[in-house]
């Protein structure tokens, strides 16, 4: 729970070898732990630094060789207003902790990503999205305010009314505007810890997209795509959708017997190689036969299937892996997604599991990733040629008016970034003012020329 300075990297000559979740790239970084706000001034004496949450971004966003500041010991709860569900906590609090504490009391975070091992600070900095983006938007939309330490050592409260520019630059700003110290955001009421969910098989990309679009009145929806499918079945998938069960419905079906339950397709990305592809096939046909039907699933299995397999990212071996995630505007989605999937299928590279989601509105942050459209994520093991493959995918994404997700990125080029993110200039301006005294930068920001 309390993981003060928990970072098991290898110590090399006084630096620690750090990486993101994909374990690519790995960089020797000076790592320090922030334990209290009043220690921050001494840290800001460094000429450059980046804050780091729990290292669940995939690439190089939370790495800075000169100083990477772990926020994991800043993990205190500060206040909770049980009338309104308004929670304030320090930025290093883990989502997992919040869930364990509040879900049994009937409260649930408004947005959760696909793992509970992230910090609240990381959720703000990446403006994370969940399976409910089409209805509820991204995490930033539910943030009332946060406290941000800027380069001068000033601690500013940022909200839509106070320091609104900094608010918009920091939500989705990947730690580049300062160190988020604490966050105040809203939890939602839930009546049970179970989600009533169903899974549908879809025969091709059009069907998958149509089923997702038709699932808009479900609170949560996502599709797993068979990354090996080609030709007429390109983009076939399994669409899962669900709503939190009311107490009564959950009680009518007690704890789901795991036997009868479909394993989550997400687990396939752990399987690797041909075996996982065959498994997808088997799953797909089971769904086809049974129609999974509505059944209650515990929220942990529904939202965080991969968290059950500890350290699955290590299965990709020493060279690590990358996740490619892009979003394309609605009108371009069908053509663009097809182009991407076809390119991957013909490239000879093996992608493990694709995830497709329908996004609602554009996020509030200047660098927020979500825009109205479809988002696709694919995992690739790092091999020779992977970087070139990603580069051509970036090309396709850019030419269809889309953008890549910085929280997953490790390879994008500055020019592709510019095409996808329209607000880079306003972002740079706000950031420059916030960096007075200390530069907030990462291996990623340097790679992207931010």
């Amino acid at each position: 729970m309390l993981a003060a300075g928990a970072e098991r990297g290898l110590r090399l000559m006084g630096t620690t070898e750090l990486a993101g979740w994909g374990r690519y790239p790995r960089v020797g970084c000076e790592l320090a732990t922030l334990r209290r706000e009043d220690e921050l001034c001494q840290r800001l004496g460094a000429s450059t630094l980046i804050a780091r949450g729990n290292g669940r971004s995939y690439g190089d966003a939370a790495l800075n060789p000169e100083l990477t500041l772990s926020m994991l010991a800043m993990d205190r709860l500060l206040s909770f207003d049980a009338e309104q569900g308004l929670l304030e906590c320090e930025a290093g609090v883990l989502l997992r902790d919040l869930l364990a504490l509040y879900a049994p009391r009937g409260w649930f975070p408004p947005v959760v990503p696909g793992t509970a091992e992230v910090t609240v600070g990381g959720m703000v900095a990446a403006d994370v999205h969940g399976k409910n983006h089409h209805g509820d938007g991204s995490f930033g939309s539910h943030v009332e305010s946060f406290r941000l330490a800027t380069g001068s050592g000033d601690i500013l409260t940022c909200s839509r009314d106070r320091n609104p520019d900094l608010f918009r630059a920091t939500v989705g700003g990947m730690g580049l505007t300062g160190v988020v110290l604490s966050v105040r955001f809203r939890l939602c009421r839930i009546e049970s810890e179970y989600v009533r969910a169903e899974t549908l098989g879809t025969a091709d990309l059009d069907a998958t997209m149509a089923t997702l679009a038709a699932s808009n009145d479900w609170r949560y929806s996502v599709a797993w795509i068979d990354p090996s499918a080609k030709g007429s079945i390109l983009g076939r998938g399994l669409v899962t959708r669900g709503d939190f069960a009311t107490d009564a419905t959950a009680a009518s079906r007690p704890t789901p017997a795991s036997r009868r339950q479909l394993p989550s397709p997400a687990l396939l990305s752990v399987g690797l190689n041909q075996a996982s592809i065959r498994m997808f096939d088997a799953l797909y046909h089971r769904v086809g036969r049974f129609r999974s039907g509505l059944r209650p699933v515990h929220y942990r299995s529904f939202f965080f299937p991969l968290d059950r397999v500890r350290g699955w990212n290590r299965l990709y071996g020493r060279r690590g892996f990358v996740q490619y995630q892009c979003v394309l505007p609605v009108a371009q989605s069908s053509r663009g997604l097809r182009a991407i999937l076809e390119h991957v299928a013909s490239s000879g590279h093996l992608a493990y599991l694709g995830v497709l989601k329908f996004f609602g509105r554009q996020g509030e942050g200047l660098l927020s990733f979500p825009m109205s459209g479809y988002t696709l994520a694919l995992d690739f093991p790092m091999r020779s040629g992977t970087v070139d493959l990603l580069d051509s995918l970036d090309e396709i994404t850019a030419s269809h008016g889309g953008r890549v997700y910085l929280a997953k990125d490790a390879c994008c080029r500055p020019d592709h970034l510019r095409e996808g993110y329209a607000n880079l200039e306003s972002f740079a301006e706000v950031r420059r003012a916030a960096m007075n005294g200390c530069e907030f930068s990462s291996v990623m920001s340097r790679r992207l020329g931010l």
Binding site: M1, L2, A3, A4, G5, A6, R8, G9, L10, R11, G14, A32, T33, R35, R36, A73, R76, L77, L78, S79, F80, L101
Partner: protein, 241 residues
């Protein structure tokens, strides 16, 4: 009720959370009242009942005044108070050395002694003292700290011997390397280093099972044995971290 001394430290915080989660009501003591309140607020929001008490082990009557302030005599008391200090500063300046000795030996030992008397009167209770591997043998690089921890280890073992008939149990915890504020500036070997949570979990187990002397992390019992058995003729020539 469980009392945690040094509740603003990294291991102290982890212990408080762990015991709180296990269902104990907490009494927290620390020298910095403001920081202690922040920890208490966090624990209360986690649904744990907490009372707080200022306590500086360097002050003369720390033990007695703390015990008088407590709402009730606790069932379990965990002392995490300690300071690593800097050996060369302690070698050069006796005041620094004295302070290090008092913080790591006099203060904690006297506190545990007072608690022991109350526990003995009542006929029950568990005392947990965090000592250190550094107390196994004096090393050139940290003998002031190490000798104080040695004294604390001996004190705890004496208490255990005196009290075992009266239903009071004493646990000595001897961590090796723990990633905390105390060791931030050191290059710790990854394989031998544990997190504060692991220390807290180990303590919870030791309380439940009434264990006497516990190490944290797989290799440390062995390391401790080796440290103690190297002949002095050899030991004095070794340069140890």
């Amino acid at each position: 009720m469980a009392l945690v001394l040094g509740a603003t430290g990294d291991i102290g915080r982890a212990v408080a959370r762990r015991l709180g989660r296990d269902g104990w009501q907490l009494q927290l003591a620390a020298r910095d009242g403001q920081r202690l309140e922040a920890e208490a607020r966090d624990l209360r929001l986690r649904g744990i009942s907490v009372e707080t008490h200022p306590c500086d082990v360097l002050s003369e009557d720390a033990g007695v005044s703390l015990l008088d302030a407590l709402s009730a005599t606790p069932d379990v008391a965990v002392c995490t108070v300690g300071v690593l200090g800097d050996q060369s500063a302690a070698s050069d300046d006796w005041r620094t050395a004295e302070r290090l000795m008092r913080t790591n030996y006099n203060g904690p030992a006297l506190l545990m002694g007072e608690l022991a008397n109350r526990f003995e009167q009542r006929g029950s209770g568990v005392l947990v003292g965090i000592s250190s591997i550094a107390g196994e043998r004096g090393r050139g690089t940290n003998y002031t700290y190490g000798s104080a921890k040695s004294g604390f280890t001996a004190f705890l073992s004496g208490l255990r011997n005196r009290l075992w008939r009266s239903g009071v149990h004493v646990v000595t915890v001897k961590p090796g390397y723990v990633r905390t504020r105390m060791t931030d500036h050191l290059d710790l070997p990854g394989l031998l280093t544990v997190d504060p949570d692991q220390v807290a979990d180990r303590i919870a187990v030791a309380i439940r099972r009434s264990q006497d002397v516990v190490h944290v992390g797989r290799l440390w019992r062995g390391v401790s044995l080796v440290l103690r058995t190297i002949p002095e003729r050899l030991f004095k020539r070794m340069s140890l971290p």
